[in-house]
Amino acid sequence: MDLGGVPIISAVTFAPLVGALIVAAIPRENTPAIRWAALGTALVTFVLSLFLLVGVDPGASGFSLVEQVDWIPAFGVQYKVGVDGLSAVLVVLTTTLTWISILASFGPIRERVKEYMVSFLILEVGLVGVFVALDLFLFYVFWEVVLVPMYLIIGIWGGSNRIYATIKFVLYTLVGSLLMLVAILATAYSYQSAMGTWAHAFDFEYLRSFAGTIGFASGLQVFAFLAFFLAFAIKVPMFPFHTWLPDAHVEAPTAGSVILAAIMLKLGAYGFIRFALPLFPDAAHTFAVPIIVLSLVAIIYGAIVALVQPDLKKLIAYSSVSHMGFVTLGIFIFQPQGLQGAILQMVNHGLITGALFLLVGVVYERTHDRTIAKMGGLSLRTPVYAAAFGFFVFASAGLPGLSGFVGEFLVLVGAFAASPWYAAIATVCMILAAGYLLWMFQRIFTGELSEFLTGLGSHLTDIRPVELVTLVPLGTLVVVFGLFPGLVLTLIQGSVDTTLASVAAGHGLALQPWMH
């Protein structure tokens, strides 16, 4: 679709920044105006982002709606943004969950509302920017922009142990991303040495075609791939780099957890698909098996640890580790179904886990507690809430007909084609997932009303309409994508084909003996 030359991607990316400035200009006392301005901005951004879905060319191997301006000409750094099906889907996921999160924060966030809303909108700038950046330098800038608002959101509005959690989150992420910066610079320099010019040295499209034709030297591939891997694996988070996640999730305010789980974990997976595989295909082949093993460990380990969590949020956090293991498994088996499933799983996990964190927020608002053992019989008092919770629990467990099933199923099909063993191990997890999710649901909602909940008396109200408003869009999408996964699959077809084609060109490297 021709959008008449409107820089639509920049509009989507920077609309929240404009909104943040407007919110910052509103007097601090006028809390309602601040809230509605933030929500309005997020909704406008959401509507704008829908144009990306219309404007993107799903079958194309290249990018649509590209905008390109020189930024630092001396090094060929550009402001270059564009979308393919994959990034368009993830941008819309981001803009959807951002307005939902802002709406869900109306009740729980009562202090320093202005700073909160400004942080959230700037966070959205960074998240959207990461998904649309087509220049590695620009990508890195957006990647780091994400960090600061999330640091503040957890650190200011989080739970009792928030400072520990937020510093851990920042330091983990920084270590990975700073090494990635070195890798980005080394990659660009390597391109510059080969081509004799800095022009387009950070341009992803040029780098990708260079990687596909001449290819980067194997030493650089190994170093750069490992550096990218570390940055992305920490973000995903893959076992054993996941330990920041439960802390961050438990301490973050509800909306922070939602964005963290639904979007921020996708940054790492997106980075693998967009950058690490096409740029360093040989290294990707070399390290595929260890990464698959780590993914399988994450799938099983996350599920087992989730089984024994006493804290509701921690349980969902570990289930994220397990579910994201499916994503990395799907990516690194280099099979069409695997990659489709991985991307679908990214979207589904965003919708479902986002909703689960919203639901945990609802009960926490009323009880100020998340200990599963203290709950029991909740459905007697809050039947609508119980139904909504049940719906998303089943979706998360992979009930056929809901979207969670399709993604995991596709990954398993791809894994089976790669090796039946992978599929067999991963399937065990689906059983475990059903186990920890249903057991959790049973302990919270069934049986007699627990003493703790009885003591709350009339505070224990059922879900309010405004809270339902945040859940209904997510629930609808879960059903729609469950029944018609083709909606997403056609959009991402071009991205999947291009990525796999670039990986297929690669071959494993003979590593030095000390690397074995």
Binding site: I72, A74, E115, Y140, E144, L147, G155, L178, V182, L185
Partner: protein, 490 residues
Amino acid sequence: MSNQDLATVAPLIAAILAATAVIVVDLIRPGMRTPPLIVALAGLAIVAGATLLTGANPGDAFGGAYRVDALTTFLDLLFVAIIAFTLLFAPDYLAARELPMAEFAAVLIFAMSGAMLISASMDLLVLFLGLELMVLPGYLLAGFAKRDALSTEGAIKYFLLGSFSSAIFLFGLAFIWGLTGSTRVEAVAGSLAGIVAGTAPLSPGLAMGLAFLTTGVAFKIAAVPFHYWTPDAYQGSPTPVTGYLSVGPKVGAFALILRLFVGALGPLHDDWVVVVVVLATITMTLGNFVAITQDNVKRMLAYSSIAHTGYMLVGLAAWASPNSQIHGLEGLLYYGAAYSFMNLGAFAVVTALQRRRGVTSGIDTFAGLARLEPGLAILMTLFLLSLTGIPPTAGFFAKAYVILAAVEAGGPTALLAVIAVLNAAVAAFYYLRVVVYMFMRDPKGEPVPLEKSPILQVGLAAAAVLTIVLGLFPGPLLEVVAGAAKALVS
């Protein structure tokens, strides 16, 4: 001395006249605070104008001992900016403690003229003169609060170690002069090139000279293990002075390194680059790790400034090929500018908080600042993020630039790139700790509204704008530093 010579040194003369004018104004109206400040700022504007005018006609003066080129112009303008910021940030603090304004301004401008002399000198003796003219006022400034025991202690330490290192440095110069027969930068370089090429005999004295010079300079830039004077000197000094000391003499000493090591000792770079790699590694690492344990923000910033010396040395260490050398020097110069603005900005916030007497620079002072003074808290966060190297700030781009040069250089220097970024992650811990106090802790005691003079606000706003603009649009300054680096190596 010809008229041409006089025209070339016009900025330096203007600087000395400006300092004198400040003293004269103080003689006419003793004790007044505003007139000397206005005269000083106007004088700086004239110096900047003169620098730009002479910069348009580069050339040598005094038989080649003094040179105006793109490097001189860039560095001189940076020195003027550093002094101007210091003058904007200081008055509130000085007034609250009844410390004199006119002397402060005059001494600072004298120090600036020393730094300007360094940036233009093409003769080792002039270089030394410039160095002494730059650091002597620094000793005075460190002891500026003369009734404060800590300030005096810091000043004495600074003076003793400073004089000691100057002596070592001079000793090294003597060796080089004796072995090459000249004090002219170009003649020394030519003679050394002959020695490296094997046409002239290599003498053990040369190694001695190089070692003494390196040690002397390492003291001046506070590179580990020659950094011991900094924490005490920085913590004891009045806060605006600390801000200046952490930036002005450091950038000045780097100017000296550029003229001496890259200019005169360039032919020997194979020998000294190895030392710089080692110095950079330990300077970054030790500076950062010790900064973690500090509970006093001034002292923390002192150690972090040591770490920043290390990052700047990475730019110097990237001398493996002509390309990596020039990028390293450009990165070093860019880093110098970015570091000046962000570090002065951070010190300005500390200064603003210490406007009332008795407010310490302990980290507790920052508790809950985001509630009491949201503007100051946000600015401090910006400066700290820039110091950490988070985009889109000047500090990020500067770090990326020196790291790129290190990657280009390859070999052991490429490892420096990895060490530098891991250090940045360590630094994030203690910089963000201040952010934790400002945003995530409750204020201690009764909040007292802070009065901030307009002049301080102007300075803070300017530093913040520079910190952001140099990060978002590095292009223009990149061209300037590229010209400066080219002038140096051509």
